[in-house]
Symmetry: C2
Subunit: 255 residues, 2 copies
DNA sequence: AAGTGGTCTAGACCACTAG
DNA sequence: TAGTGGTCTAGACCACTTT
């Protein structure tokens, strides 16, 4: 009979709210414009603030909004495309692609890194490892923080006397690394949440969603270095210009 | 005097909670084990349920936990590495890499896709486009849902009579596509939230965090196809075996 | 000091799964 | 039907930025 299937799956309020807001953003707001504050928006839509916030959180996750404590909620610009796999065979720091060496120290790497370094080569957990910190800047904004782990055995030529820490030391490690013959590399991307120190560097709150890019650098002798880069997931779109060269420049396809 | 800088930045409860739970997971729980329910955990830690949930959400985002309504919260297995860029030059569907064609139809693509198709070639917004739906399976689990947009002009040889929809139609479109000479491809990865239909396919709730992989396929004539693949961010680690071949198999490096 | 987003509480009800 | 996670409310206070 006329029993049409009405609302078999009632849409959650925050989900509907997100859709409404999303359309409003497209039509009535310009990039950088500030939205009314959360209390007012919640009142205007007749929902509790927590519910409104759930919708805003999703929109922020999708890169549509930017929220800053003490300031307000603004409409975010389209995500920045950051090249991650442009040059197929290259050591970190070979091209001037926005990475700024920050610091370097010698320490024992976390267990997960030890496992990565141990692949296909001799690496013992108690070997000393140079840990290089770098930050990637785009348009004056920090978009990524990296920890690069280089076993001392990979850079035997590194003078121990040279500046024991700081940017100069970091550059020295990178320079030594580039003397080796790079045999290949390996990359993986996954979702994570920002550790406290990375969050600070990226001007985000701890726990903010990030894209974790893990890279292994191979020489004939095995894994010569491992990099773990933390990209801001809200503002970044990682691009892998495999072949064909042209850069993707677009707005997100799916919500 | 003795005014030591105590707790300049008081750690939020949910953050501390997350750390505690994370350690407990490492030490006292096996993969697949079910945790006590949220009300009990909240009581045990002396916090409101909402606060406890905030911690659980983060752990789920990091792939440590798996929650299912009506069932419970279980310890998640390490993320599955899914190869995304293994073969550098290949049309979708060329290798038997777990993709299962689901359906195909002819329709007008969303505006964002039109923009991508228009790069470096003649493509008008009102041209018909074949939309192929595929699902990627790993260990009997759906890990990704894809929409592949193929302008009719790219596959002129496709018989209009052949099965107008369904898997057979999808396979036909892929087959025709593979006749072309692939000139190159382009890929980008970003964070998104699952649309309702993708969420259903991936057995997640709408809005679940996903990794959006956008690929453009080039021929000499321009962009011949565009693919938008939606990967479950909780269970997947995308691997790009650029060169050197060996697969990364590890647990997450950073939290 | 005022205004913003971030955290937290103590409830309630709903949708889903499984016995 | 009982038990689970998912949604929602109406408050409160805190941390931060700006004026």
């Amino acid at each position: 009979m006329g029993t049409t299937q009405l609302e078999t799956v009632p849409e959650p309020k925050y989900w509907h709210l997100k859709t409404v807001l999303s359309e409003a953003l497209d039509q009535d707001f310009a990039v950088g414009e500030v939205l009314p504050n959360e209390r007012e928006l919640a009142a205007r839509f007749g929902v509790a603030r927590a519910t409104l916030r759930q919708a805003l959180e999703q929109l922020e996750l999708e890169g549509r909004l930017q929220r800053r404590r003490g300031v307000g909620t603004t409409v975010a610009p389209p995500r920045v495309g950051v090249a991650v796999g442009s040059a197929q065979h290259s050591w970190p720091g070979e091209a001037a692609d926005g990475w700024e060496p920050q610091d370097a120290s010698e320490s024992l790497p976390p267990a997960a890194v030890v496992k990565l370094l141990g692949t296909g080569g001799a690496f013992a957990a108690d070997q000393p490892v140079h840990t290089v910190r770098r930050t990637r800047m785009t348009n004056g904004q920090a978009v990524a923080a990296e920890l690069l782990y280089v076993p001392a055995a990979s850079v035997p030529g590194l003078p121990a006397i040279e500046a024991p820490s700081g940017p100069a030391r970091a550059r020295a490690v990178l320079r030594e690394l580039q003397r080796l013959v790079l045999d290949g590399q390996d990359r993986s991307v996954e979702l994570g949440s920002a550790r406290a120190d990375d969050a600070k560097e990226l001007d985000r709150l701890p726990g903010a969603p990030v894209l974790l890019v893990t890279t292994r650098y191979f020489t004939a002798a095995g894994t010569a270095a491992v990099s773990v880069a933390t990209y801001r997931a809200d503002t970044c779109r990682l691009t892998f210009g495999g072949s064909g060269g042209v850069e993707i420049t677009h707005e997100p396809v799916a919500s």
